[in-house]
């Protein structure tokens, strides 16, 4: 029986009680991964639900666009938490069950293999933890047993337990591992892919990220992030959910400790029993018209990125580069903090979307893509006028590329087109303060706010990354929007 049949056979409770009601059960702010996932959960259980998106397109941080005849992806390098088809455990299996999607809907191809490169040391890893074990045994032979102890501790961490173990991962790792450089090499990919906090991670987030990258693995749909977003929207709409694009929220009108109305930028006011916002914590607080203070208890994050995208006339493999992701750092110490320069050239992430185990090549004509992500300073990029911005973008595009090719084959002679995003691009598409890629360092794990019927989901609630964002949307929909419906 298809979803449509089921909908047709069951009569939603709301239509029995209030046949002419214009009141939504739930309004969701933002059509990114978390908002769409929450929407699917609620629409599946017959709620009248509306997702509001101020942009002309869905995706938020994860976007896709066409430029000069080529398709581009932003946000997604790779999906984390890739477990094989049929696996019952782990975040990917859980979210597929919750969204009633099948593993095949995301059409995931596993990575070929990735690496962490520091001066004099190169650690390779893929979706089989044994390769990483062997690499650590080769590069850090004294740490084999310590590394096994770390794996055992990480495996034990319970991620459905709401309280992230708040102890410092840095101090725990220093106790477990006797080689400081190995500690730095482990932090580099985990922080790049999911730490909103500078310098350190809490143990819970470290464990989640370690498992998602090293113990489960990386993969990508052949069609990129657009496939995931399209599947989410298709599912949501198929269940009767409403998606309103170009519909920004002006404010949340508050009466008696509740959101009484959602005032749109077009002047219209719509009502809902509850509102779930993926706009971010401070951003959502600012929307409330009761004068709720915003920054005191939870300052926004400061970590933002620049990313360069180069289209090559050749597949990277043919230049001798077959790695899926290369995490690099040019000294023994890895610095994870707001960049003091426009871009931090000491470290970065190189991703080639071509280098996954696809059934057919990413591009039939044999072109390649190289993307490099580096920490960047939001205030610098925000302060430029249009002309300076263009100029600085091209200047820092070159610097980032020059920095990255210290670690991989030089592809600069094969570049046929480029693009680049900066922290201000992130602000434009996500609305998040400072272009904070992973949101505020302090998460609001229970998703509650000062108002009875306003909740948050997405980066500022808990988990980050695509799998994390989808999990956040599902979790908050389950916890706050389904039980009392």
């Amino acid at each position: 029986m298809g979803e449509f049949d089921k909908i047709a056979m069951s009569t939603p409770a709301s239509s029995i009680q209030q046949p002419a009601s214009r009141v939504y059960d739930t309004i969701i702010i933002g059509a990114g991964m978390s908002g769409l996932a929450a929407g699917i959960r609620l629409a599946y259980y017959d709620q009248r639900v509306c997702v509001l998106e101020r942009h002309t397109t869905i995706g938020g941080l994860n976007g896709f666009y066409r430029l000069r005849g080529r398709d581009y992806d932003v946000g997604l390098h790779a999906l984390t938490n890739i477990t094989p088809k049929g696996a019952k455990r782990g975040p990917l299996a859980r979210l597929l069950r919750q969204l009633r999607l099948s593993w095949d809907d995301f059409d995931i191809s596993p990575q070929i293999g990735s690496e962490i490169v520091f001066p004099g040391v190169r650690l390779r890893f893929d979706n089989d933890l044994d390769l990483f074990r062997a690499e650590i045994a080769r590069a850090f032979p004294t740490q084999v047993e310590n590394f096994e102890r770390l794996i055992a501790e990480v495996a034990e961490y319970d991620d459905l337990n709401e309280t992230h173990a708040a102890i410092s991962a840095r101090s725990r790792l220093s106790e477990l591992l006797a080689e400081p450089m190995l500690v730095e090499m482990l932090f580099c990919p985990l922080m790049f892919y999911g730490s909103a906090r500078e310098h350190d991670m809490d143990w819970g987030q470290f464990s989640i990220m370690f498992r998602s990258i090293f113990m489960e693995g990386l993969g990508r749909p052949h069609a990129g992030v657009r496939l995931i977003l399209k599947q989410l929207v298709r599912k949501f709409r198929g269940l009767g959910g409403e998606l309103k694009l170009r519909t920004g929220v002006e404010r949340l009108h508050v009466e008696n400790g509740r959101v009484a109305g959602v005032v749109l930028q077009n002047g219209e006011t719509i009502e809902a029993k509850r509102v779930l916002s993926s706009a971010g914590w401070p951003e959502t607080m600012r929307l409330c018209d009761d004068g709720q203070p915003v920054t005191a208890q939870r300052p926004p994050g400061r970590l933002s990125f620049c990313e360069t995208i180069a289209t090559l006339d050749v597949e990277p493999k043919r230049l001798g580069h077959d790695r899926t992701i290369t995490f690099y750092n040019d000294s023994d110490k890895f610095h994870w903090s707001e960049s003091q320069e426009p871009c931090d050239l000491r470290s970065g992430v190189i991703c080639s979307p071509n280098n996954f185990e696809y059934d057919e090549p990413l591009d039939k004509e044999g072109s390649g893509v190289m993307r490099i992500t580096a920490l960047a300073n939001y205030d610098y990029w925000r302060g430029l006028d249009e002309e300076q911005y263009r100029l600085e973008k091209s200047r820092w595009y070159d610097r980032i590329t020059d920095s990255a090719i210290r670690f991989i084959p030089d592809y600069r002679g094969r570049v046929v087109d480029t693009d680049m995003f900066t922290p201000t691009t992130i602000v434009r598409f996500t609305g998040h303060d400072n272009g904070a890629i992973y949101g505020a360092p302090e998460k609001q794990l229970d998703g509650r706010t000062h108002l009875d019927n306003l909740f948050i989901c997405g980066t500022d609630q808990g988990f980050v990354g695509i799998i994390g964002a989808i999990t956040s949307g599902i979790g908050m929909a389950n916890m706050h929007c389904l039980r009392d419906a």
């Binding site: 056979m9 069951s10 409770a13 259980y45 017959d46 088809k85 049929g86 019952k88 455990r89 859980r94 069950r97 919750q98 009633r100 099948s102 593993w103 459905l160 599902i474 979790g475 389950n478 389904l482 039980r483």
Partner: protein, 86 residues
């Protein structure tokens, strides 16, 4: 519904929640959690499906009764005796 019909209905719900699962080997007296690796999110779905399909409201305190097939059927029997299976 009879006990057997309730069991079929629960199996239908489980196949919806975990479409890739082989339910033919499911033992009635062993917990779903143990056999299918269901977590708290999945148990919420069993409750939500019962509400969606049959308007049965199950308070959170009663979720423990949904541990295995036997306990679930016993718990649902009085609640579903007047419902016709379609």
């Amino acid at each position: 519904m009879t006990r057997d019909e309730i069991k079929l209905e629960v199996l239908d719900i489980l196949s919806d929640i975990a479409p890739d699962e082989d339910l033919s080997q499911l033992k009635d007296d062993v917990s779903f959690r143990e056999q299918m690796e269901l977590d708290s999110m999945d148990f919420l779905d069993i409750v939500m499906e019962l509400r969606k399909r049959h308007r049965i409201q199950i308070p959170e305190d009663d979720y423990v009764n949904l541990a295995s097939m036997d306990s679930t059927v016993t718990f649902l029997e009085p609640l579903m005796k007047d419902i016709q299976r379609v």
